[in-house]
């Protein structure tokens, strides 16, 4: 168990640096270089790039160490005094951390590089661009430096989180990420929409922060209970068999439920933190709205950092989760995960925003991972977490490229083929008069939505690099057999569910996988195939230099979206299994065994494999069939014409699904439900408290105290004026009067003084002589 290696390789000591490199970049950007956008971007990339090199060097070193899972590396120093003991502040490297170190800094680095293109760093600043709103196509974002500072801090949060060797430190980095998600989702804080129902980035940031806060609070409660029970928050201490045994056997009596082991309560509370962070039902509502952030942020949140943190937390604390074998904690995790996987997949089917589809897909895939953990598939969940990060980052970055392509196309379409030089500017000033410039000055967006897939179509020819990589990502997401990474990880989860007899979970996940393949096919068909449905799609292109920055990371990620799965091919798999040693399972499984988690490789079974083949291919096929012919409604738009409104596009599912489609499109009305249940009441309570505050506290107590104070002062004023001042003035007046009286004898003439002297002497002499002695 968790014993420190006698002489760990020296390179492990560098692990401390990994989170602090991006942190340094953050500090440098914020303090010194924020005026220079190119330098800021360079610093952020340099910070994460160095972190990536160290991370990979460490991870690769660990691959070569036999039985590394039993002897992980730990480096720590005393930090917080707690009575007689100390909280150690420390970092640990074990196989799980090594796996994360392969994924997190690398994906972050690619996203950072992509951001250079996305934020158009190096391009001239737009004349009409305002801080806190997206820049016009082809112009650098006015706050690009700030953006790079934030994402560097975000990377710090995630890297610190995976390295932390205790829950306190983990929580600190966890909250850094919470802060960064708020800052980045609301990055375009000045953006407003014409449609009042559409959530603004500012509100979305707040929503993400507050929603995750619910989970964080429960998680903190779990941590405190854990500390109260075990007097430690260090993973190495908690995961000792004795400690876990004590936690599982010591019970507490809860109302209604009865005697419950502490382990169950703590595990469920900590899992709530993961529910919030990984956007699981019922705290999933923040994640789709988090799409209001710039697209690289969506990729960061959805792939490399934020939501992975929730899954990572559960994987990391898995010994605690399973302390009570087949206990309610695991059942709860499995239920929430499986339910969310299916539930979010159904919503994704009816979304039209290219990023919202991916957002629900992320929720669904995270549900997959939790379901896997709930049924004890520790290695499979870790595997899916890592492969998913690659292809989901790829998909998000691809969608960002599509959005930029559409914006360029929109720009071109509006201004004719003359490009976006000075001449076209002149041109539109003539046609629109002063109208356009005021339009650009305000932060109102034009009605055209470059993220709406209904506005797209036929982008494959316009943006081939984006399209091909996006399709690779889509196939990986839907689990296209054999070649893609998603297939291997998803198949492993399904196999685990089947072999361990969790039929309900198995069926739910299979249905979710079918829907995943379906909506992926729908998304690809609507975006890249068919005829362009608008002028923007007609003119979309990826020729601008910024697309070089954007498409290169896409290609690298596409390679990983395929090859990433090859490290986890089961040995028992027909034909291919013979070539594979399944190093991933061996590596992570080593840790699992050290932690007493059952993770032996499963014998091969045809049922889950067949299921996963059928659902992946069937879903893709179904999506292709349904959306192959999708186009604007007949009668409204002539063949080859572009649509004037996205509503003219008729979704082929809308009619057969009827009311259900509307429900799905509105996300089961969860936002409305929460609004009615919680937000309205919270606002009502706040209003009541406000009235209480202003009526009772302000008007009565504070104002009353003020009134009394004022009256007292008035009395004091009167005393001052009539008594103290009168005495002072009186003294002055007497002095003045006396001075006036004696002033007359000072004439300045020496003879007068002599006379006075003579008279005085005479009088005194007379008195001396005449008065009786």
């Amino acid at each position: 168990m968790y014993e420190t290696v006698v002489a760990p390789p020296a390179i492990f000591n560098l692990s401390v640096l990994i989170p602090f490199l991006p942190l340094t970049a953050f500090a440098l950007i914020v303090l010194w270089t924020n005026r220079n956008k190119t330098l800021s971007a360079g610093l952020a990339i340099g910070g994460i790039g160095l972190g990536w090199i160290i991370g990979w060097a460490i991870a690769i070193t660990t691959f070569g160490i036999e039985h590394f899972g039993e002897r992980p590396f730990r480096i720590f120093a005393d930090w917080l005094p707690t009575g007689r003991s100390w909280h150690a502040f420390g970092f640990a490297v074990d196989p799980l951390t090594a796996g994360m170190l392969i994924m997190v800094p690398f994906v972050c680095l690619l996203i950072f590089i992509y951001s250079v293109g996305y934020m158009a760093v190096g391009k001239p600043a737009g004349e009409h661009d305002e801080r806190g709103a997206p820049a016009e196509a082809g112009h650098v974002d006015p706050l690009a430096s700030r953006f790079f500072a934030y994402i560097a801090l975000f990377a710090t949060g995630m890297l610190g989180l995976v390295l932390a060797d205790n829950l306190i430190l983990l929580l600190i980095f966890w909250e850094i990420m919470g802060l960064c998600s708020y800052l980045l989702i609301g990055f375009w804080f000045g953006r407003k929409y014409d449609d009042p129902k559409k959530i603004t980035p500012k509100a979305a940031g707040l929503k993400a922060f507050l929603t995750t806060r619910i989970g964080d609070t429960l998680m903190l409660a779990g941590m405190l209970l854990l500390y109260a029970q075990t007097h430690t928050l260090s993973f190495a201490e908690i995961f000792k068999p004795d400690t876990l045994h004590d936690l599982a056997t010591a019970t507490v009596s809860l109302p209604l439920i009865g005697a419950t082991p502490w382990a169950t309560i703590i595990a469920i509370l900590i899992f709530w933190g993961a529910i919030g962070k990984s956007a699981q039902f019922p705290l999933h509502v923040w994640l789709p709205d988090a799409m209001e952030g710039p697209t690289p942020v969506s990729a960061l949140i959805h792939a490399a950092t934020m939501v992975s943190a929730g899954v990572y937390l559960v994987i990391r604390t898995f010994p605690l989760m399973q302390a009570v074998e087949h206990g309610p904690a695991l059942q709860f995790i499995a239920f929430i995960g499986a339910f969310t996987a299916l539930f979010a997949a159904t919503i994704a089917v009816a979304q039209n925003d290219i990023k919202k589809v991916l957002a629900y897909s992320t929720i669904s895939q995270l549900g997959y991972m939790f379901a896997a953990l709930g049924i004890g598939a520790y290695v499979a969940a870790t595997f899916h977490l890592l492969t998913h990060a690659f292809f989901k980052a790829l998909l998000f970055l691809g969608s960002g490229s599509v959005i930029h392509g559409m914006e360029h196309g929109h720009h071109e379409g509006e201004h004719g083929h003359g490009g976006h030089g000075e001449t076209s500017r002149q041109g539109d000033k003539e046609t629109h008069g002063g109208h356009l410039s005021t339009d650009h000055l305000s932060t109102h967006l034009p009605a055209f939505d470059p993220q709406d897939m209904r506005n797209m179509g036929g982008l494959f020819r316009k943006m081939p690099r984006t399209a091909i990589t996006f399709i690779v990502g889509g196939l990986a997401l839907s689990g296209f057999p054999i070649v893609t990474a998603g297939f291997w990880s998803k198949d492993e989860i399904l196999a685990d569910a089947w072999m361990h007899g969790h039929t309900v979970v198995f069926l739910t996940l299979a249905a979710a996988a079918l829907l995943t393949a379906f909506y992926t096919a729908r998304q690809i068909m609507m975006t890249f195939f068919g005829k362009p449905r608008t002028a923007a799609a007609e003119h979309a292109s990826e020729h601008d230099s910024i697309f070089t920055w954007m498409t290169v990371p896409l290609m690298i990620l596409a390679v990983f979206a395929i090859a990433g799965g090859w490290v986890g091919i089961p040995k028992e798999f027909p034909v291919l299994g013979a070539l594979s040693t399944n190093p991933f399972h061996h590596f992570i499984g080593g840790l699992a065994e050290a932690l007493d988690i059952k993770a032996q490789e499963l014998p091969f079974d045809a049922t889950p494999l067949a299921t996963s083949l059928v659902v992946a291919l069937g879903g893709l096929m179904l999506g292709w069939l349904v959306y192959r012919k999708a186009r604007p409604a007949d009668g409204h738009v002539a063949e080859g014409e572009s649509m004037s409104s996205p509503d003219q596009f008729v979704d082929p599912l809308a009619r057969p699904l009827g009311g259900l489609y509307t429900v799905l499109r509105n996300k089961y009305y969860f936002d409305e439900l929460y609004d009615a249940l919680f937000i309205k009441n919270a606002v009502r309570l706040s209003n009541w408290l406000f009235r209480f505050d202003s009526g009772v506290i302000d008007d009565t107590i504070v104002d009353g105290a003020g009134w009394v104070g004022r009256k007292l002062s008035e009395i004091g004023h009167w005393i001052d004026e009539h008594i103290v001042d009168a005495a002072v003035n009186g003294a002055g007046a007497i002095t003045n009067w006396f001075g006036g009286a004696v002033r007359v004898i000072q004439t300045g003439k020496a003879q007068n003084y002599l006379l006075v002297g003579l008279v005085s002497v005479s009088v005194l002499l007379g008195a001396f002589l005449l008065l009786p002695k």
């Binding site: 000072q746 004439t747 300045g748 020496a750 003579l758």
Partner: protein, 102 residues
């Protein structure tokens, strides 16, 4: 021998003339002369008392010589002051010399 009283009366008369001159004359030089008269009246007193009471010792004479010396110095200083005032203000009329006022 002339009685002491006569000397004293004479000295008092001389002192009064001097005091009057010092207090009533307009001309600063005349004022100074009045002052000199008063000093000499005192000198007469000193000598007279010495002669009638304490002949054995030199105190009275010495005192008178001392007063004469001081008077000479005083006259020198006073005249110097008047010359300085005259240069500045073109007058030695004490009525007009009221710079000591406030």
């Amino acid at each position: 021998m002339i009685p002491l009283t006569w000397y004293l009366v004479f000295a008092a008369a001389l002192f009064c003339i001097g005091a009057f001159g010092a207090l009533a004359r307009r001309n600063a030089v005349a004022v100074l002369m009045g002052v000199e008269l008063m000093l000499n009246a005192v000198n007469i007193n000193l000598i007279a008392f010495w002669r009638y009471t304490d002949v054995g010792q030199m105190t009275g004479q010495l005192f008178a010589v001392f007063v004469i010396t001081v008077a000479a110095a005083e006259a020198a200083v006073g005249l110097a002051l008047f010359i300085a005032i005259y240069r500045q203000r073109k007058t030695v009329n004490v009525e007009e010399l009221d710079t000591m006022k406030g």
